[in-house]
């Protein structure tokens, strides 16, 4: 296999690669083992720091049903609203009427440029809304702006013939956008959209800061309840849950990307363009 940086290695290069591979592997393993020994010395792996996870089911009930449940509820509601709102804003942003296009562009720039936490605070403190509304609202404002931009990029990446053909058979500008361009853009940008849902799901953890009882906040409540001796084990389990959910979604996005989109003209868009968007 020849990649940009190097050709298919010959016997000498293969040996060199093998040696360095072992050296790097030993170094990494040594660091991990040292860390594990230090953690062990502090009794991190003792059963009295982990018993809350197998003695009774209450801990899991709190973490999964209440914590993860609240996280997924906020993420689900926010994602559903953001996708619809994002499509509407994208259509408005591409309108040929300047007094529709300009405000849409301004709103996108405004909400994309602000931290989600600040948007949540706006709704929680400024509008005096419930904390669930504030979290979902903040996520919706930010993510519908981002999703609108993703969809717009998708529409712009379609071959120009799609739009010309639609106009030629007599569809209006609006019909062309809604019936021809947008559906293809959604299919084409599906991987980016799923990645954005991962970002949204991660951002529900801002609820920790503003007092929405999602997964991370539930973990801290568990720590307060069981004592700080359990903080490490609770953290590990929480991290595994977050990473498990997000990683599955990310893999799904990668799968969609690989599979491509047979029903959209022109295949998937170049990947580099999307890099740095879903932070």
């Amino acid at each position: 296999m020849s990649v940009v940086l190097f050709d298919t290695p010959g016997p000498r290069a293969r040996r060199r690669v093998a040696i360095w591979s072992v050296v790097a592997g030993v170094l990494i393993a040594a660091v991990l083992v040292l860390a594990a020994i230090r953690l062990n010395q502090r009794g991190i792996f003792d059963s009295n720091r982990w018993d809350i996870f197998y003695e009774d089911t209450e801990t899991w009930e709190a973490l999964i049903r209440r914590g993860l449940g609240a996280t997924l509820r906020a993420a689900g509601v926010a994602a559903a609203i953001s996708l619809v709102a994002g499509a509407v804003v994208a259509v408005a942003r591409m309108s040929h009427l300047p007094w529709v296009r300009m405000p849409a562009a301004a709103l996108i720039e405004l909400f994309r440029g602000l931290p989600v936490l600040l948007l949540i605070l706006f709704i929680a403190l400024g509008l005096d809304a419930s904390i669930f509304t504030a979290v979902v609202g903040g996520l919706v404002l930010y993510n519908s702006a981002v999703i609108a931009e993703i969809l717009r990029a998708g529409i712009q990446s379609l071959p120009g013939g799609q739009r010309e053909a639609a106009l030629a058979v007599g569809l209006t500008q609006g019909q062309t956008l809604r019936m021809i361009l947008l559906p293809q853009a959604v299919r084409r940008m599906l991987p980016s959209l799923v990645s954005q849902v991962v970002v949204l799901l991660k951002d529900t953890s801002l609820g920790f800061i503003v007092g929405y009882a999602e997964l991370l906040r539930t973990s801290r409540e568990l720590r307060d309840f069981f004592g700080s001796r359990y903080i490490f084990s609770i953290f590990i389990v929480t991290a595994v849950i977050y990473i498990g959910v997000n990683y599955s979604l990310s893999r799904f996005a990668t799968y969609l990307e690989r599979r491509g989109s047979p029903k959209a003209a022109g295949g998937p868009p170049p990947l580099v363009v999307q890099e740095g968007r879903n932070v």
Binding site: P115, L117, R220, A239, Y247, G276
Partner: protein
């Protein structure tokens, strides 16, 4: 309105803290991310594996959880930092994963033929990297990097929840003191963020267009 004007010094402190958080962690993330990116495109399988695991772990972890680790968990195992340092470390480690991905896709975006031609005319590895691959990779990497640093600016707001007095923390403190001026205070903070993110966003879009035509 007075609550904003009378407390401009607080705003200024918060703005400076946000800027410090952003710039210092951007520098660290750039160094670490480039190293990780080099790992991920290297011929050595263990280093590639290390890079992949790091990126997948950090990319799928909420930044709040990373903060949580350095502020609440790490002190339990004798890793105690001041809150500002914890914020820097959390932001740098998290952002490095995204820098790594940008660097990797930048290097991979250079045509295979470019490097093959460089080797064919007898350039050494260093020469072909310095004169052929990296200059081309750099162009594709810059716009996504700017986007990552814009996101970093916004992400630094999470430090507010972990005892660092940056812009959002200032706004929470001020709204507690002047509840009737909540909207005005928050708008002031929003303007501070937009002053950083909007110009940077415009710059990124411009550069992106330039790069697109240069190919």
């Amino acid at each position: 309105m007075d609550s904003v004007i009378d407390n401009l010094d607080l705003y200024w402190d918060g703005f400076q803290t946000t800027l410090q958080l952003t710039l210092v962690s951007a520098a660290f993330a750039l160094v670490l991310g480039t190293f990780l990116g080099a790992c991920r495109v290297s011929p050595i399988p263990t280093l590639r594996g290390f890079g992949t695991v790091y990126v997948e772990l950090l990319r799928n972890t909420p930044l709040t959880l990373v903060f949580f680790f350095f502020v609440f968990v790490a002190p339990q195992v004798d890793l105690k930092f001041p809150f500002f340092t914890s914020a820097l470390v959390a932001l740098s480690l998290y952002t490095a994963a995204f820098v790594c991905e940008a660097v990797r896709s930048g290097v991979n975006s250079v045509g295979v033929g470019q490097a093959e031609a460089a080797r064919a005319i007898g350039l050494t590895f260093t020469q072909s990297m310095a004169q052929i691959v990296l200059p081309q990779a750099f162009r594709t990497v810059v716009p996504p990097l700017i986007n990552i640093f814009i996101a970093l600016t916004k992400n630094s707001s999470i430090a507010a929840g972990f005892f660092t007095t940056e812009l959002v923390a200032v706004s929470i403190r001020l709204t507690n003191r002047f509840p009737s001026d909540t909207i005005v205070i928050l708008l002031g903070i929003a303007a501070c963020y937009l002053a950083i993110t909007v110009p940077a966003g415009i710059l990124a879009t411009r550069l992106e267009r330039k790069v697109a035509f240069a190919r």
